[in-house]
Symmetry: C2
Subunit: 347 residues, 2 copies
């Protein structure tokens, strides 16, 4: 928890004072930004490009727990989660707007900490923060981010354009963010029972970071461009692999076969899942929040991607009538369901 | 309050079922919308126009009280409040995204009611709802709307471009939304003390509607276009006349003289303020939520606008050193402050 002692009250500043203070540290760098924060609306110029818009809302108690989420990380993640949607369209993210609601008891320093994480993400991913809204909240911290980006019409990749025979690919590894969350939740409970016990996260940096500080996979778009591969369909993994591949299949009116043994799981995720008596595959399928890219490519592109350490080929697209299936390591075929925890119950 | 009896639980539908249900009633009509809800991001095409983006957040208990706010009106207002920002740039609003957070106990019918008000506003103002986010909330209803629009570069009107000698104009009348709120708050208290007493809003339709169902002044932009008047600076009135003219003056590095007798106040607003022992001028200056347009025009445009019933000329822009002043009906000069209630204390 943020320590409020000796901190500045926001009420002293007022809304406009706060906005002035927060926005003065913003530097605009994108050629597409004509006017940022400070007027009724931001003014942007995308010339002949198509414009991409996506929005997400993060609520305290639902999406994050301030007991173990540093505010700077939370700000960083709130931006990443949104940029990920623009990258999932194969677009270039360029601007965000940020609306914040927080208690009037929230000290200025806490808002600044949150904001600094947002600006760090913007700086690293070359994004302009061009506007937003700030309000008091009676109900905990509320964060709403809208991201804008652009792309040439021919470059945009939708969810509904997967074709039978396409290879199903995923970037990075899966299930880590979920196991990081389990770990943080466990340490929180231990701490609540006995505040003298320090959290034991030693050696678990990778999965804790996957949960607290995810990175949107802009680098994968660059990699695919270098490899001259344009995905046939793409989505980012926010709700878990199973849920996302079902979106692609449903919207493309196709089926799929995923192979359990091909699903990329980091050894730390695997071992921690075992420690918690969880099935690592289920964590990868249904854990969510990995913000990796799930995409399909033509079979003809196989040679271009097969040796890439950052991309795993985990299955292929089938006709709709074949359904959406997971082939287990033992060769057993299971129907894929969005909520893996129920789907795999009793196994 | 919405009656939950016999209503459908959202948990039965799940998030994706809910989104499918809400979005199926959306019809896209704007030429600039290529792809609406249903993918990671919406895809828009503004061709050679500049793009305008604005965002607002509405929180239960801060911005609205469900005790006297019908959900359909709330949805309608949430959209209007946002469109108003695009119009205040002299732009054409064309799309919105909507993020909603609500308790899992909120019945489906309540979400549909809220959404129907949003779609009504979109339909009336020719706006496409192109995306959003839906999440459960532990903390009451949360609404975040982002609006997009477009304009030719030369048509855009900023806040920081008022010039000395410009006339200060305002559309419609002021203070009504604030008095409507006072009335609703009073009737709520009476009802809480004695639930057998029915709310007495008879004959107060206009100011109640100003509070519950404001209309963004798209019509004023059309009027100014017909009159061949381009404002030199413009802002919409969400926080009250005093606060908004101070924004224009500060950002334009100018001062102003406003004349109390010229401030347009509807007789019902005036009488109700008197009933509540409030100064009607203070209500107009600091009440807020009128969503009228405040703008400045060249003196040369005086003849074009002087006989227009929808536009009042309330003062003029001065040099910065002269300060921002209100000239009272008695001819006394007061310094304008953003929070009129304090500024006028003891008078």
């Amino acid at each position: 928890m943020f320590d409020n002692k000796g901190k500045t009250e926001i009420a002293q500043l007022g809304e406009f004072g706060l906005i002035d203070l927060l926005t003065k540290s913003i530097t605009l760098t994108q050629p597409s930004t004509i006017k940022g924060a400070g007027d009724d609306a931001a003014v942007l110029d995308f010339k002949d490009k198509k414009v991409l818009v996506s929005t997400d809302m993060l609520l305290e108690g639902i999406h994050f727990d301030l007991a173990y989420t540093p505010l700077k990380h939370l700000g960083y993640k709130a931006i990443q989660v949104n940029l990920s949607d623009i990258y999932a369209m194969n677009g270039t993210a360029s601007q965000v707007t940020v609306s914040l609601g927080f208690s009037s008891k929230f000290p200025l320093e806490a808002v600044e900490e949150l904001y600094s994480g947002m600006l760090l993400a913007c700086d690293k991913y070359e994004i302009d923060l061009v506007g937003g809204d700030t309000t008091s909240s009676k109900q905990g911290l509320v964060i709403s981010v809208t991201s804008l980006g652009y792309a040439d019409e021919n470059d945009i990749v939708y969810r509904n354009t997967a074709i039978e025979g396409d290879l199903i690919c995923v970037s990075g590894d899966l299930g880590g963010a979920y196991m990081g969350l389990q770990l943080l939740e466990r340490e929180k409970l231990i701490f609540l029972e006995n505040p003298n016990i320090q959290p034991d996260l030693e050696g678990k940096d990778y999965i804790v970071e996957r949960q607290l500080k995810p990175e949107a996979r802009k680098d994968i778009l660059n990699l695919l461009k270098d490899l001259k591969v344009k995905p046939s369909a793409m989505i980012d993994i926010s709700d878990g692999l199973a849920s996302e591949i079902l979106h692609i299949c449903k919207q493309s009116n196709k089926g799929c076969n995923l192979y359990e043994e091909k699903i990329p799981i980091d050894p730390m995720t695997y071992d921690t899942a075992r420690e918690f008596n969880l099935d690592p595959t289920v964590c990868a399928l249904s854990g969510g929040e990995d913000y990796e890219l799930l995409f399909t490519v033509k079979q003809a592109d196989y040679d271009k991607i097969k040796h890439n350490a950052d991309i795993s080929i985990i299955g292929h697209i089938t006709e709709a009538a074949a359904g959406c299936n997971l082939v287990s390591k033992a060769g057993v075929v299971h129907e894929l369901k969005a909520q893996g925890w129920n789907a795999f119950k009793g196994e």
